[in-house]
């Protein structure tokens, strides 16, 4: 099942990428990133059958980081929304110096 898992992981990851590229809503963008993280997690888990449980440990770390990222990212989105009344990326170019 390893090959199938990895293939599935790749497909999900690609869908996530396409989502990131096509969507403009910041929140959905975040969710696409989460999807990509999940795809990677899947390949970790699949490969952990081959290499031992370290892959699963990594999945835990990835989840933690994802949680942190979601918390901070959503906070930022809320802050921006308060300021600009929008979460559309095309309207947000704060990063431009």
């Amino acid at each position: 099942m390893l090959a199938e898992s990895l293939a599935l992981s790749a497909v999900l990851f690609t869908i996530g990428v396409v989502g990131v590229l096509t969507r403009r809503n910041a929140i959905i963008l975040f969710m696409c990133v989460e999807l990509m993280l999940n795809a990677v997690n899947l390949s970790f888990v699949a490969l952990s059958k081959l290499y031992g449980a370290t892959g699963q440990v990594f999945v835990i770390f990835v989840m933690t980081v994802a949680a942190a990222e979601a918390a901070v990212g959503l906070a930022i989105i809320i802050a921006i929304f308060r300021h600009r009344q929008t979460v559309h990326l095309d309207d947000i170019n704060l990063l431009k110096g």
Partner: protein, 188 residues
Amino acid sequence: MDNTFHPLFYGFHFYLFGLIAIASAILFVTRKSPVAAALWLINVMFCLAVLYVMLDAQFIGAIQVLVYAGAIMVVFLFVVMLLNLGQPDDLADIRGTGPRLAAGAVGLAILAEVMVLARSRIQGEYAPAAAVELLVPAADAVGGVIAPVAGPLFREHLLAFELTSILLLAAIVGAVVIGKKQGPADAR
């Protein structure tokens, strides 16, 4: 557990949930409403949890449901509700045809590359003999399903574990600070 193992049954469910995951993912990226998108994503995660379990990572499967589907996605939904973004936007959320086609092409390219890489690296290094071993469950009876994960996590990776906890703490503090409503004096 050899006797309870039915390859056909196993394979069927593996493919089933895999296909559901893909379908849900596609639906997720194409929904205009953030709420619908979030719900489809949760569906993907449940499917993945099933697959984790089928790959003998029961613990991961459990926290996938608890942490990802249960906690993180709820936060997303919560924010969507909070900002009152439930309905599809007047402004088309999805980009025009050009970017969409381009994104599709890029996606296909990535897919192809990942496939090529996976094929050349992983299958190249492991002979079919090793693939048979794949089907042997990793968890042994004594340690249960958690011990193989907990062992390395709290031994070799203890420092990293503690660091992630600090990272979480920092993220919480950061989220609070950023999300705090600014007083009129602080407002730019």
